[in-house]
Each structure stands twice: as C-alpha cells, then as structure tokens.
C-alpha cells in the first residue's frame, strides 16, 4: 500500500502522476473464507477493516453486487453527529464520532471531516421541550450539546430567517459543535484500501443469490460468481437486508423505503453549518464544492426502486425557502434516491441471528452514514468473538420480542 504523504505527492508529481498504484486489488473469489461480508458499503468495509486490524481475522471476503461504496454510502447527505437521546444510542454514535475524529490519520486517507456544527431547529413549545431535554441528556452522557436562543441561532447561521412571522418560526435550536460533514466516498475508499492492505478480498460485481445453512449453522453463500464456503457470514446490505436475510429463512422487522436527496448549483460559501429541522423534516449543508446538499424524509411506501416522488422534494424545498429566503432563486442541479432499511424503533440491529455463524448489521434507516466507523468497529467485535460488544449489546433482534426497544423516533433530533 502506498503511504500517502507530502513526499509521495511530490515524487508522483515529478512523474506526472502516472505512477500511482491501484488502491485495492480486484481478486478472484477463493472457494472458502473464514468470514464473508455481504455488502461493500461503508459499514461492510469498516467491518472488514476492523476485523483485520483489531482481531487478526484477515481471511475475509467482502462481496458487493455493484461497485464498492456505490449504494447509500455514495448517496447520502454526509451528516455526522451523536446527539441522540437514549443512552444506548448516545454511546454507539458518540463512539463513532470519536473514531471519525481520528479517521483520516488512522486510514492515512483524507475523509475530509469538517466539524462545522449541527443545528437542530425548534419551531414550537414541544420542540423546545424536546430540544432542551435532549441537550441535558447528551451532557449527562458526556456529549457536547448547547441550547441556543433565536438570537444565538441567527449569529451562528446568519442566513436563517428567524422573524416571528415566519411560516416556521425559529424559537431556539440545539447545537453540537463537534458534528459536521465528511467526504462520503473517501470513507468507503479509505476503509477499502486499509482492509485490502491487510489481506481482505474485496470482490465487486458479485451478487449473493443464496445462503447455505446446515443444521442451524451457516456454511457458505452462493453468488453470481460461484459458491463460496464460509465459517461466518455477515449481512450488511442496507436496503436489501430483508432480501438477503430471507435467503437464510430470517424475517426482519425492517421495511425498505426510498430516501431522496438533492444538490443545488454551486454557490460561494453561505452556509457555515449543518441545519436540520425535525418538525418540517429537512436538512441542509454546503459541500466544499459549494453545492447545497439537501435531504428530507422517506417516501411513505415500500420500495427498492431507488427513486421517490417529486411531491416529497416539493415539500422539502418549500420548507427550505421558508427557513432560508436567500435560496428562493437557487436552481437545483440533480436529485437521487437510495433505499434505506427502516426499523420500527428507528434504531439499528447489530447482532447475532438465530442462525449460527450468521450476523446482521442493518436497520440504520436514514441515519447510517454517521455511524460508519463505529458500526464496523462493534460489528467486527461481534463477529470475532461471536458475542456483542457492550456498545451494541442492546441492538439485538430479540429486543422486538422482549420489548426493550430503543425508540429514537422523534427522540434522535430528527426522526429516521
């Protein structure tokens, strides 16, 4: 693996940048692995990386039906925060945020983490009560959180319309200064490069078509590139988790929905932070290229179609223009849809399954990107030890029958 540094940059500049090597191999699948990970998105690649790095498990294949990082990892609004209400969520998302803070050094790959702060707006009395409660809960959990009154919100993000007559009056906001955004593709590429360098095979254009189970234990997978035996199989297929789990006879409490996002034409820097609003369900930030990156809620119906309805975009744009009148003549450049796997309690499942040697990491809904490093970190631990880490011990499948749900709907600063 070429180590990226100012020295390697200068050396390659002298040879007109024609000497850079490929960042990962494209190996043929071997007949058997210790661990097969289904899905080379951010979470799957992070799992492979931490399996190799922390647990010495390197006989690992990551199978991807398309290209790595080509699903939701490359299609999200890149927001990172850890201001969740409940202790279980706060712990896992804060662990992830701490990993983010050292990730560029860890991976020798610039993930362009920008801790520009995340504002969660409050528009009415209930929002204020919920926001202040969440700030207090965050602080008790050691997570940075502040309550801002409207004048402070205006000072932090001057282009927000805080006039009392606004359609969505801003009556306050919570602020997590350590929140922000990162470069989504770079996270997948950095983890892929790090995992590959430690011997992990990343196999693209290889769709899993079946999971073989014998006497209650997984023994391998069937793919479009032949059968692969495996001692352990980990499902990290995001929107397609139900489809893959069904191959092993598992039913999940998950439904797949389209989630759309869109970007504007590029502007000079106007948006100093990330602004989210739960009540009107819209969120916006500005990328380093100058485009506004805007997201909203999911379409209501189940879908694997990677597209949603225009009326959802219309609603979110209406809200954006009320909150930021300065954007009223801005043109939108492109929109896209991804498929997110939503759990009934808006919390993920990172756990063992009733099938021996089969693990699942999913149900992250609309908020999985921020969890990428933390999710891979705890999932690698779960696979290597065949037991969860304390940080993901609560995120089981069994919580749906025991009743120990982690209800982050509406509690998690924005519902997802």
């Amino acid at each position: 693996m070429t180590k990226f540094s100012i020295v390697s940059l200068v050396r390659n500049a002298l040879s007109h940048h024609e000497g850079w090597s490929a960042q990962w191999r494209s190996p043929e699948p071997k007949p058997a692995y210790d661990v097969v990970i289904v899905g080379a998105g951010g979470h799957g690649l992070a799992t492979a990386y931490y399996l190799a790095k922390h647990h010495g498990v390197t006989n690992v294949a990551v199978l991807e039906k398309g290209w790595l990082g080509g699903g939701n990892t490359g299609r999200n609004t890149t927001i990172i925060r850890s201001n969740y209400l409940w202790e279980e969520s706060a712990a896992i998302y804060e662990h992830s945020l701490k990993l983010w803070e050292g990730l560029s050094q860890e991976l020798n790959y610039n993930v362009m983490l920008s801790q520009r702060g995340v504002l969660n707006l409050c528009h009415n009395t209930h929002d204020i009560q919920e926001g202040v409660r969440r700030v207090n809960a965050n602080r008790l959990n050691g997570i940075d959180a502040e309550w801002l009154v409207p004048a402070q919100v205006k000072a932090f993000c001057p282009i927000l319309n805080i006039s009392p007559g606004a359609r969505y009056p801003v009556e306050g906001a919570t602020l997590q200064r350590r929140g922000g955004v990162a470069r989504h593709d770079a996270v997948a590429w950095g983890f892929a490069r790090g995992a590959d360098a430690r011997g992990v095979d990343i196999i693209q254009n290889c769709e899993v078509t079946g999971i073989d189970v014998e006497a209650g234990r997984v023994i391998g997978v069937r793919t479009t590139r032949g059968a692969i035996r495996a001692k352990q199989v980990a499902i990290v297929a995001a929107g397609h988790n139900s489809v893959v789990a069904q191959m092993a006879g598992l039913r999940l409490p998950i439904e797949s929905h389209p989630l759309q996002a869109l970007v504007s034409e590029p502007l000079k820097p106007v948006m100093p932070t990330v602004v989210m609003s739960n009540a009107v369900h819209v969120y916006v930030s500005q990328s380093d290229k100058g485009e506004l990156v805007i997201g909203a809620g999911v379409d209501s119906f189940n879908s694997y179609g990677q597209r949603g309805g225009l009326h959802v975009i219309e609603d979110q744009m209406g809200a954006i223009i009320e909150l930021f009148p300065i954007f009223s003549r801005l043109r939108m450049m492109r929109s896209w849809g991804g498929i997110v796997d939503v759990c009934p309690d808006a919390s993920p499942i990172v756990a063992k399954t009733p099938v021996g040697g089969l693990y699942i990491n999913g149900g992250w809904g609309t908020g999985g990107f921020k969890a990428t490093p933390g999710s891979g970190w705890v999932f690698a631990h779960t696979i290597a030890n065949d037991a969860p880490h304390p940080l993901n011990a609560a995120f089981t499948l069994e919580r749906f029958s025991s009743g120990a749900l982690i209800d982050e709907h509406g509690a998690a600063a924005v519902a997802h």
Binding site: R251, I254, E255, F400, G403
Partner: protein
C-alpha cells in the same frame, strides 16, 4: 408520484392517500395464547419483498376508505386494487420490471 386507482374513486394522485404498510397481517385471535416471538412477528416482522407486494392504502383526502393494492416494489406498477374484505387477486405473472 404514484397514480393509485381507488376502488371507489378511480385513478387519483398519491398525495391523496396514506400508505398503511403490508396487508393481510391478521391479529392473533387470542393474544394471551401466543408467545412473545409470535406476538413480535405480528407486531414488527415484515415480508418487505423485492417484487410484488400486497399493501394497504387509505384514501385519506378522498373517500377516506381503506383498500388493498398489489404493487411492485421496484417498478411501482400497481397491478390491482381491491376492497379489504375481497378475495386476494392472484399476483401478476410478469415480473413487474417492464
């Protein structure tokens, strides 16, 4: 946006409707007689198919009646809608991708 054929009002835009999730999930006749796992299956577990899906819709801003639909979750094609107490129409033979 989907155009949904309400069995009573005809073809109407999606914004008039509310999606009610998977159809034909029967509440256990005696909730006290089922295990926690069976109750969880009723409450939370879903088929979530990639393909034809039987689902409930409510014409919230029209006739306000509930009905079921057979819709494809990739192409979004709606093959049939039918009253909630009607017999289930068979799933279409084509794969819905076209």
């Amino acid at each position: 946006m989907l155009k949904i054929p309400c069995p009573w009002c005809g073809l109407r835009p999606e914004t008039e409707f509310r999606n009610g999730g998977e159809a034909h999930i029967a509440r256990p006749a005696n909730p006290f007689a089922v295990t926690d796992a069976e109750w969880a299956d009723y409450l939370f577990m879903r088929t979530n198919p990639k393909g034809w899906h039987r689902e409930r819709w409510n014409h919230a801003q029209g006739c306000r009646r509930w009905f079921n639909a057979v819709r494809h979750t990739v192409s979004h094609e709606i093959a049939a809608t039918y009253p909630m107490d009607a017999a289930q129409p068979p799933l279409p033979e084509h794969d819905g991708e076209g």
